[in-house]
Structures are given as structure tokens and as C-alpha cells.
């Protein structure tokens, strides 16, 4: 008998009576599923593209011999090539080449076409024209992405920066390498043109058939120094995928929040239905439907709603993913996968999974109301006036308190596989716990609030206070969304406040000059350094060298920053946090960024082994500093020490202190004139500060939108349940109209109740939100991104937010309760129970 009945029940949910709420549940679940599925699709595309790109860059190499820092001496090439297990050894000089006037670097592969032919057929096939162009030092081959990025065509010119001078390269053809922008040229030309003589960065290997890659890797590693590592190419692809992991997980959590909200809406709509249709279901029970059958029926009915949301969500998700890819690329604008031209593939397995997830969220949401409906004693439920008793069952102070305690415990647990799994669980437990506690909490809050003297306000208040459990059901979505929004607001504000303070600390100089900024091909030579020091108006210059250092096979490289600083007072240049250490004589002091300390488990006083200048160097962690700039970690050492260890005399950045009264702008202009156009980037600290904050604000703009969406969902929930409550109370309003309460006064009562509910939601939601914000700051962000921040509460914004919520809730209640003002409501006094 269940099936036809089910379909009618189902229609009932979507029908006019419950329509708003039912559709809202479907929409919220669809949104959650869509977000999750879209993120999954985009991620799948990104990983596929990254793997493809990584594979086409290393070709069909069996092994890759990779330098950990600053490349390796080319004399390792014949050593590796002569090994008996090696069939083909292809030397590669991979450079992040500075394109004057652009922030992003161009990945430039210097290759030996004859060797690459065996391993990178793509490189060999794509070109046209003169075969000798592949050997000429002034020719460059672009892949489709870089050709588009640089807007260059075959026969055209590409200008790259070498040191502080410019290198003109003729575009001789294309290389058929899919994925992000990559250019290729002859290895000898690349070495000579970019000041890299004697240096290569990796050797791709094809092994003699029949030799296992792992065995060969071991025997090769045994003849190579520690600073050079033999890797299987897959590890490089994994590293690429790992790059965006934390970012992706956070997006997935947003999807889960949406699903949670959907489940919550299903819960509150089912709970209201349980109350409203209690007697109907009791009749079914009286007619012989068994308890489990009724519960099963209600859960399945919710699951059907969820599945509908799931199916819609999967369709929406596909569309969303396509739109996002078209607009921003697979990294959603985070520039991890710059220039990838993505191809979306439907993942049927994942589609089914996400649709089922929607059904599961709805089924879970309906579980408690369904069990309650099944538990109700039919005889009693058949009688009128049993509502509040039914509502009261949904709250359990003991269960709520237990969930909150569990959440508190979960917040202290360490990350799982580098992800703040328990942090998210803690947030979920706190949210659910608070919602379970809500009837109890709202009773407590109503008891605490003074009864307003004005008769109508007092009446409104009395009406709410009389049914706290019922009120709390309308509040659940609103409390959850206020908590999430407030937590995000506090977290973002803390982050911004800390970033501002950090910027003030790290930008002490008057003018900053950059050559390439981390790229391999743009740098200050010692001559350029002298020139800079001698500029008119310049009192003091501090140079810094930054190079990438690979420390662990599965991780992206860490930045090694060699800068001028006083080891006795490193705090003058670095925003140190916690204790620091005066290293002993003969020890190499290193100051590691928080991110690096977290990722590699370093503590002050510990020792680190670093590959510098082709050998392993041991240093002592003298301090940990806060760094919001380098998400993969950074290590600072004295420039002098770095120069001695590596022989690398170059620098990428310079901080200029000017003589009093000197115009920084004039110095910047003089500098620009002294070097080729576009070779230097100069910036005033104020500009850098402004740009950084602008980037921050842009990045987090989406959060504000999400906060707004969360509140909208919460208010929608409030609206739907409020409408249902007003419907249930229409006789009461009708009586008041008889007694001479005007239509406007009824509206005022409704608004009062909305505002009151919002007030309760705000009190609970803000307390909950502050706790969640602490978890976001100290657990989730810390474990995902390894950035610490100082909590800062945006009081004014929160006050405005609270006020807006109250006003919006009042308006929502007024609008959704306006049926109480209609003429029919007046006549409802005749309706019997």
C-alpha cells in the first residue's frame, strides 16, 4: 500500500500547502549537490590536465633526475647517461622566465631536440619550417596556451628578461604540449641566453627495457649526491594535484554546508508536517499501519524530495562547472592552473554518488521527525492541541549538550592527512548540538527577556514564549546560518587585521625593486647591485635572493630567501612569532615561516638539512615567522651565508631606504630609466599594501556573497515555517480582529515576532558563531593553510549584520504572515478545531 500513498504524500509536500518549504528543501539540496558535484568535476578536470601537462613535460620518461634546489651541474648529465640502466638521458633546463611587464612567469624548457625526441615526441612534432631552428639559440617554440597568453604567432617575437637585460626570441613554431603555458628552445641557447651556463635542472630518463624503475632509481640515487633526487614521474603529477588540495577541500565543505542546510530545511518542514498532520498519521496508525511502516514511509518521502534535489543538483552542477571553467579555469581564479584549456567530462559514478548524497541528507533530516511521528500514541495524537508536546520532543538538552562537548573535543584533535577533518567535524557537531539544544535555549532566552509593556508587543512575545519548541523549529535554519555567517565574518576580519599588521611589519623600506620576483631568468647581478647602491638619494639597499628548494618528493618546493639581516636582531626584518634562539658559533641560523614549520614539523632549535649549491647543508631553526605570502613555505637565511654556500651572487629583490627628503617616485623613475623597459618593477610600500589588501578583499568577496546566501537561506526557512505557524494560528488572529485589532496592528505583531525570533537566533547564533570562528581560525585555517592569525571581531560589521537580520526577519515575518491580515482570517473564528 506504500507506493500510491507515497506518491500522494510526496505530492503533498510539493503541493501548495507545504510548497514553499518543500521547494526550498529541494533547492537547498540541489545547491549543495550542485556545488559538490561541480567541485568534483572541476577538480577532476584540473587533476587530469595537471597530470597530462606533467606527463607531456616529462614525456614518456621512466624516471626523472631532479635537482632539489637551483638546478644541478651539467656534468651529472654524462654520469647519468652512461649508467648501464639508462637507454636515453634527456637533459632539461627548466626556467620560470620573466616576461617583462607581466607578473606570471613563462615556463621555459631548454631541451636537446635529439634527446627529447625519444621522450618528448610532442616537442619534436609540433614545429614547422626550418629544421635548424630547433638548434638556433634565438628561436623559441610555444605551446598553444603560451602562444595565446603571449599573443605571439609563428614568425613573431617574444621578449624575455635575462638578468636586467632583454632577450629577443623569434617564434619558430609550436610545441604540441597540452595544458598550461610552456615554451621550448634549444638547451644550449637557453643556457647562454639566460645566464645558466653549466646548469641544468633535470634529466628525463628512458630505461633499458626489462629494468624495473624502482630498482634503477635506487642504483642511480646511489651515485648521485643528496641534492639530486631520482623520482618517478607520477610523484610529480601527485605533487601537482596536492597543490590545490586544501583549496578544494574548503570548497567541498561549502557544498556540505549547503547540503546541511538542505537537510535542516527538510528536518524543519517534516517536523512541522509531523505536527500539522499528526492526526492524519495517527488515523493511519489506528487503521493498522505499523509503526516502522509509517517511519519508513516518511523517511522515503523525504529521500524522494532529496533525490529530486540531487538530480536537479547534478544537472545544475554540471552546468555550474562548465560555466566556472569557461569563466575562471579549473582553479576558480586561484591561478594554480593558469592557462589550462579544460575539457569537462561527465563522471556518471560521481553523478550518482552526489544525487544519492542529496537523498541521504534529506532522509537524515527527516529521521527524527519520522521516528517521532511513528512513536506518537495514536489515541492522543488524534486529539487537538497536542502540537507543542510534539514539538518539544525534537529538543533534548542532554543530547545537545553531549554533541557540543563532543564538538569541543574534536576541535583539539590533530589533522588527518594534512586536512582539518576533525575541525570540520567539530563545527558540524557544534551546529547540530546547538540546534538540538535550541528549544531549551529559546525557552531560556524567552524566560530571560522582559515582557514588553505595550499590549501588542506583549501579546506577540507571549505568543512566542508560550510555544518555544515550535518557535525554535523556525529558528534552526536561521541560527545555523547566522552562526556560519558570523564565524566567517570574524575569521575574515581576523585574517584581514592580521594581514594589515603583517604588511606593516614586512614593508619597512621606502621603495621596493624587483627583478623577476622569484623567476629564474630575471635577477640583479653584482654590477646592477652596485648601480642601485650608487643611485642618487639612496641611503641603504638590502638585497634578497629567492630560490625554490625541493625538500620532500610529494610536496611543492619551499622558497629559500637569502636576505640581509642581523642574526642578533632578526625581528627587525621578520615578523617573528613565539620564542627565538641565538644560534651558537659555527651554526647556520635559519628562520622558517609558519607554513614551513607546520608542513615539515620544524620547531625552534631543530636542525634542517637543505640542498644549497648542489650539496646538503645543515642549519638550525632560530625562529619562526609569520608569512602570508608564500603558501608552500619559506626559509630565510643570511644572504652572506647563502652566497658563501652557493656561490650564487644574484638577487631578485631590493629594499631601498632613501635619504630624508628624497622623493621615492623620482628614484623609481631614475631606476626605470637606468635599465631596459620592463626589466624592473618598482613599488612603494603603500602601493604594495594597497594591492595586497585589494587582492585579499577580492579573494574574500565570495565569502561575503556566501554569508548573504546563508542568511537568505535562513530567512527563507524562517519565512516558510512562520507562514505555517501563522496558518495554524489564524483563528487567534481572527479573534483579535473581532476585538478591534487593526490590520496594521496584526502586521506589527507579526513583525515583532519576526524580530524577536531573529533576536533569539542572533543571541544563540552569535555565541555559536564566535566559537566556530575560533575553530576556523585556530584549527581549520591553521591546519589547511598553516597561517596563524590574531582574532579580531568586526564589532561594527556584526552590529550592522545583527540589525539587518532583525529588520529582515521582521520584514520576512510580516510578508510571510500577511495571510493573518486577510479578511478570511477574520472569519476563521468560526472554524472548529
Amino acid at each position: 500500500m506504500a507506493l500510491p500513498f507515497l506518491s500522494r504524500e510526496f505530492l503533498h509536500i510539493l503541493g501548495t500547502g507545504q510548497g514553499g518549504r518543500g521547494l526550498l528543501s529541494v533547492a537547498a539540496i540541489a545547491l549543495g549537490v550542485a556545488l559538490g558535484y561541480a567541485i568534483h568535476l572541476i577538480h577532476a578536470v584540473a587533476v587530469y590536465e595537471m597530470e597530462q601537462a606533467a606527463r607531456s613535460l616529462t614525456g614518456e620518461a621512466d624516471l626523472v633526475v631532479q635537482s632539489l634546489q637551483g638546478g644541478m651541474d651539467e656534468s651529472w648529465y654524462p654520469v647519468v647517461a652512461r649508467r648501464p640502466e639508462v637507454a636515453v638521458a634527456s637533459p632539461v633546463l627548466e626556467l620560470e622566465a620573466k616576461v617583462p611587464g607581466r607578473t606570471e612567469k613563462l615556463k621555459l624548457l631548454g631541451m636537446d631536440v635529439f634527446r627529447a625526441d625519444a621522450l618528448q615526441p610532442a616537442f619534436f612534432l609540433g614545429g614547422t619550417g626550418d629544421a635548424l631552428d630547433r638548434l638556433r639559440p634565438d628561436r623559441i617554440f610555444l605551446n598553444p596556451a603560451s602562444a595565446a597568453w603571449l599573443d605571439a604567432r609563428e614568425g613573431g617575437e617574444v621578449i624575455l628578461q635575462s638578468g636586467l637585460s632583454l632577450v629577443k626570441l623569434r617564434v619558430a613554431g609550436t610545441v604540441n604540449i597540452p595544458g598550461p603555458p610552456v615554451a621550448a628552445m634549444d638547451i644550449a641557447g637557453a643556457q647562454a641566453q639566460f645566464g645558466q651556463l653549466g646548469r641544468i635542472t633535470r634529466i628525463d630518463l628512458r630505461l633499458v627495457p626489462g629494468i624495473a624503475a624502482q630498482r634503477a632509481a635506487q642504483s642511480l640515487q646511489s651515485v648521485l649526491p643528496e641534492g639530486i633526487r631520482v623520482e618517478v614521474p607520477e610523484a610529480r603529477a601527485a605533487q601537482a594535484a596536492g597543490f590545490s588540495r586544501a583549496y578544494r577541500v574548503n570548497l567541498n565543505v561549502l557544498a556540505l554546508v549547503a547540503l546541511f542546510a538542505g537537510g535542516l530545511l527538510v528536518f524543519s518542514s517534516q517536523a512541522l508536517a509531523v505536527v500539522r498532520r499528526r492526526s492524519q498519521w495517527a488515523l493511519l496508525r489506528a487503521l493498522g499501519v505499523r509503526r516502522n511502516e509509517l517511519a519508513w514511509l516518511l523517511v522515503m518521502q523525504a529521500a524522494a524530495v532529496g533525490a529530486l534535489g540531487g538530480v536537479l543538483g547534478v544537472m545544475l552542477g554540471y552546468w555550474l562547472a562548465q560555466a566556472a571553467l569557461d569563466l575562471f579555469g579549473p582553479d576558480l581564479g586561484a591561478a594554480f592552473f593558469r592557462g589550462i584549456a579544460p575539457q569537462l567530462a561527465v563522471a556518471p559514478g560521481a553523478a550518482v554518488f552526489f544525487a544519492l548524497l542529496g537523498a541521504a541528507a534529506a532522509a537524515l533530516g527527516s529521521l527524527s521527525p519520522a521516528l517521532e511521528a511513528a512513536r506518537a500514541a495514536p489515541a492522543r495524537a488524534l486529539h487537538a492541541g497536542d502540537d507543542e508536546r510534539a514539538f518539544a520532543r525534537f529538543g533534548s538538552p542532554r543530547a545537545g549538550a553531549a554533541l557540543i562537548v563532543l564538538g569541543g573535543v574534536a576541535a583539539w584533535l590533530p589533522p588527518v592527512a594534512g586536512l582539518p577533518v576533525f575541525g570540520y567535524i567539530a563545527v558540524a557537531l557544534l551546529l547540530i548540538g546547538a540546534i538540538v539544544l535550541l528549544p531549551w535555549l529559546s525557552r531560556a532566552v524567552f524566560a530571560l527577556l522582559p515582557m514588553p509593556g505595550a499590549p501588542l508587543a506583549g501579546l506577540s512575545f507571549a505568543q512566542l514564549r508560550a510555544a518555544p519548541s515550535r518557535a525554535s523549529l523556525s529558528l534552526a535554519p536561521l541560527v545555523a546560518s547566522i552562526a556560519v555567517a558570523a564565524a566567517m565574518a570574524v575569521m575574515v576580519s581576523s585574517f584581514r587585521y592580521s594581514l594589515e599588521a603583517w604588511l606593516d611589519r614586512v614593508l619597512p623600506a621606502d621603495l621596493y625593486v624587483r627583478a623577476g620576483g622569484g623567476g629564474d631568468t630575471a635577477y640583479f647581478t653584482t654590477d646592477a647591485e652596485r648601480l642601485l647602491r650608487g643611485m642618487a638619494g639612496v641611503e641603504r639597499v638590502e638585497f634578497a635572493r629567492s630560490v625554490a628548494v625541493s625538500l620532500s618528493p610529494g610536496r611543492p618546493p619551499v622558497m629559500l630567501l637569502a636576505r640581509q639581516l642581523d642574526p642578533a636582531a632578526p625581528g627587525a626584518r621578520l615578523p617573528l612569532i613565539g620564542e627565538s634562539l641565538r644560534p651558537g658559533a659555527g651554526q647556520l641560523p635559519l628562520w622558517v615561516s609558519e607554513v614551513a614549520a607546520d608542513l615539515y614539523g620544524w620547531g625552534v632549535g631543530g636542525t634542517i638539512r637543505l640542498p644549497i649549491g648542489g650539496r646538503m647543508v645543515e642549519g638550525v631553526v632560530a625562529g619562526i615567522w609569520r608569512d602570508y605570502a608564500r603558501s608552500q613555505g619559506a626559509i630565510v637565511m643570511e644572504r652572506e651565508a647563502y652566497r658563501n654556500l652557493s656561490g650564487d651572487e644574484r638577487a631578485n629583490e631590493a629594499a631601498l631606504w632613501l635619504r630624508p627628503g628624497t622623493d621615492p617616485g623620482a628614484v623609481a623613475r631614475a631606476l626605470a630609466a637606468a635599465f631596459p623597459a620592463g626589466a624592473l618593477e618598482t613599488a612603494l610600500p603603500g602601493e604594495l599594501r594597497r594591492i595586497s589588501l585589494a587582492v585579499f578583499d577580492r579573494t574574500f568577496a565570495a565569502t561575503y556573497v556566501l554569508e548573504g546566501a546563508a542568511i537568505a537561506v535562513g530567512l527563507a526557512g524562517l519565512s516558510a515555517s512562520f507562514a505555517a505557524q501563522v496558518a495554524a494560528r489564524r483563528r487567534e488572529f481572527g479573534m483579535l480582529r473581532h476585538l478591534g485589532v487593526t490590520r496594521r496592528q496584526i502586521g506589527f505583531m507579526l513583525a515583532c515576532q519576526g524580530a524577536l525570533l531573529a533576536l533569539v537566533a542572533l543571541i544563540v547564533g552569535l555565541v555559536l558563531g564566535s566559537v566556530i570562528s575560533l575553530i576556523l581560525i585556530y584549527v581549520i585555517n591553521r591546519q589547511s593553510f598553516h597561517w596563524s592569525m590574531d582574532p579580531a571581531v568586526p564589532w561594527a560589521a556584526l552590529a550592522a549584520f545583527a540589525l539587518a537580520t532583525v529588520v529582515l526577519a521582521a520584514a520576512t515575518a510580516w510578508v510571510s504572515g500577511r495571510q493573518a491580515m486577510r479578511r478570511e482570517a477574520v472569519l476563521a473564528v468560526k472554524e472548529d478545531w
Binding site: P78, A81, F114, R115, D130, A131, L135, D186, A188
Partner: protein
């Protein structure tokens, strides 16, 4: 004469008539040995070319070809990088066995440097990784590790050097500068081993070596050439070539016939005629080759019969062309007079851009 690599040179030189930057090949330069066995890096192109007939212990016969090419592209002469492509080396190796039906061949291409790839001056010592050709104790020793076979062969001279053309100055066209320095070593005694199909066999036989270098060879209107070198059974040696134009006509021809007693007769362009007797079409490239030829060289008339039809070599990944290089028998009136190698180029595509 081995003009094959010219296709590569020309591909790059784009038909320039002046050997700009390269020394010109001129008559009157006396070849000196062992220095001239070694590399001449200043010239544009150079090759060492070994072809021969060998036989294993079971009497099974094979044709074998080992070629090293050197090229100076002049694109990175002043680049201080150790990777600077100042000299490029290419190598082809092929093994023909009638039972297999198809030529087994492989190739290498590399820039010199790091001791891994080199063409030494002073005496023959050319290597690309594990492919090498060296002159030791007067013998030429070749080691080739190819995809389908391995060769460890020693080539012992049994006759003196044969200087082609005018004391080693070999004209290739109507212009005096269209020429090469060119000498041959016929009747080399081959010993050593080949590894193929999982078995290593001791082999012996007779081979022919050419060593030739130049800066400019082909006339712009040339489209390919036919070349043959035959070790005659009586100890005599014959080399003949012709350069074809686009219509298949002869632009230039030449050759040399050295009798058993060492008398050498240089053949003038009008004394050499090639005539196709049978053609074979490659199922892979679609090119049609005159694999059986009647050759008139001075008074000598020979029919050239291939050891097998399919001796096509696809060298697109090194020198950029497809050609036919095959073991042939020299027959007259049904009687075998000698054995040699025939080279047919320019039948797949014109060797000119």
C-alpha cells in the same frame, strides 16, 4: 659515393650555392693518413659508410650497413654552452636477411659533447653513445646496439685505399665546387658477431667502406642519385654513381674500376649508365625503387640483383628521409661476378626543398 646525408644538409642549407663559412673542396689537396681517416669538423658534411655481405656458421647470408654522418650546422658556433650544437652526428645501421623479408634498421642522432657523442680528429673514432666506429690496429671496429639486432664487427683492409676521382677529389656536378673528398676501401675482410632473434652468431664476409666529406655537393636541380659499390670475385672493385634530375635523366655520373692488379680507371660521366630492369613498390612509403638495374661502367656490363626487394630504410627521425640501401649481386649471363651494395635516393621525395 654516399650522398645520402646531403638531403639533411640541403634541407638546412636551403639550396644556397655558396658554401658560406665552410671550406671549399678543391682539387690538388693531397689526402694524408691516418689524419684523413678522422673527422674534418670544418666541412659541412662527412660520412663513414660500411656495407657488406656476411655469412654465419650455417651459411645463412646477410647484408649489413653501418653509417655515421657528421654535420656542421653553423648555428651556434660562438655559444659557450657545452650543449652548443656545433657538430651533429647521425648513424644508421641495417641488417638484411632474406628470410625476414624486411630490412631491420635503426638510427641515432645527437649533438657532440660531454664525451658521449664525438667524431675525433686524427683517426677514425666516431661514437653516439653505444654506437661507435673506431680504427684500431689498422682495422675498423664497429659496435652497434640497435633495437632489433646488435653488431660487433671488425673490418680488416686487404687492399690499399682507393682514392676516388682525382686523387680523392671527386666531382659531383658541373660546377667545380660541387665536389667532395672521397676515398674507399673495398674488399674489407669482415669478422665478428651479430645478435639477432635472440641468438648471437659468428659471422665473416666482405665489405666496402667509403669515407667522404664536403661542404657542397648537389646541384640545385638534382633530385637524387643511384650509387653502387661492388667487390668483384676476382679481386677487382667497381664504384659507379649517377645524379638524377627531376625527370629521371642523368645530371652527372662517374665511377672507378680498379682491377685485381691495382690498375684504376676513373670513369667519366659519359661512361656510366644505369637502366632499371625491375621496380619494387614499398607498401610503407609508397615509393617505387628500381631494385634491379643493368649497369654499364666503361666496358663492364653488370646486372644488379637485390638480395631481397624490401631493403628500404626509414631515416626520417635522423636524417629526415626514406631511401633504399640494399645488398645486391652483380650478375652477368646468369653467373655471379661479385657482390655489393646499391643505394637509391630521391625516390620517396625529392631531396630538395
Amino acid at each position: 659515393m654516399r650522398l645520402l646525408v646531403v638531403c639533411f644538409a640541403l634541407l638546412w642549407a636551403c639550396g644556397s650555392v655558396v658554401a658560406d663559412g665552410y671550406p671549399m673542396v678543391q682539387s690538388g689537396r693531397e689526402l694524408r693518413f691516418p689524419d684523413d681517416h678522422g673527422s674534418h669538423p670544418a666541412y659541412r658534411t662527412e660520412w663513414w659508410y660500411l656495407t657488406g655481405w656476411i655469412r654465419d656458421g650455417e651459411g645463412k647470408e646477410y647484408g649489413v650497413q653501418i653509417t655515421f654522418f657528421r654535420n656542421r650546422p653553423r648555428v651556434a658556433e660562438d655559444n659557450p654552452s657545452a650543449f652548443a650544437p656545433k657538430q651533429l652526428l647521425f648513424a644508421h645501421a641495417a641488417l638484411a636477411s632474406p628470410g625476414h623479408g624486411r630490412l631491420r634498421h635503426d638510427q641515432r642522432a645527437a649533438r657532440t659533447g660531454f664525451g658521449l657523442v664525438q667524431a675525433a680528429q686524427g683517426d677514425t673514432d666516431v661514437r653516439i653513445g653505444d654506437w661507435s666506429l673506431q680504427r684500431t690496429d689498422g682495422d675498423f671496429v664497429a659496435r652497434i646496439a640497435a633495437r632489433e639486432f646488435r653488431l660487433e664487427l671488425r673490418f680488416r683492409p686487404t687492399q690499399p685505399l682507393l682514392l676516388q676521382g682525382d686523387g680523392g677529389y671527386s666531382r659531383k656536378g658541373a660546377q667545380a665546387r660541387q665536389a667532395s673528398y672521397y676515398y674507399s676501401l673495398p674488399h674489407l675482410a669482415v669478422s665478428g658477431s651479430i645478435s639477432v632473434d635472440g641468438a648471437t652468431r659468428q659471422v665473416s664476409g666482405t665489405a666496402w667502406m667509403d669515407h667522404e666529406w664536403s661542404s657542397e655537393i648537389l646541384a640545385p636541380e638534382a633530385s637524387g642519385w643511384d650509387w653502387v659499390g661492388v667487390n668483384l670475385k676476382d679481386g677487382a672493385a667497381l664504384m659507379a654513381f649517377r645524379i638524377r634530375d627531376q625527370q629521371g635523366g642523368t645530371l652527372w655520373a662517374g665511377g672507378a674500376l680498379r682491377s685485381r692488379n691495382g690498375e684504376t680507371r676513373i670513369l667519366a660521366p659519359g661512361e656510366v649508365h644505369f637502366e632499371a630492369r625491375r621496380r619494387w613498390r614499398s607498401p610503407r612509403s609508397g615509393a617505387t625503387y628500381p631494385v634491379a638495374m643493368r649497369l654499364r661502367a666503361g666496358d663492364l656490363v653488370l646486372d644488379l640483383e637485390p638480395l631481397m626487394d624490401d631493403q628500404e630504410l626509414d631515416a626520417r627521425r635522423s636524417t629526415g628521409t626514406i631511401y633504399w640501401e640494399g645488398a645486391v649481386r652483380a650478375v652477368r649471363d646468369g653467373a655471379e661476378l661479385g657482390r655489393g651494395y646499391l643505394e637509391l635516393t630521391g625516390y620517396w621525395k625529392r631531396l630538395r626543398l
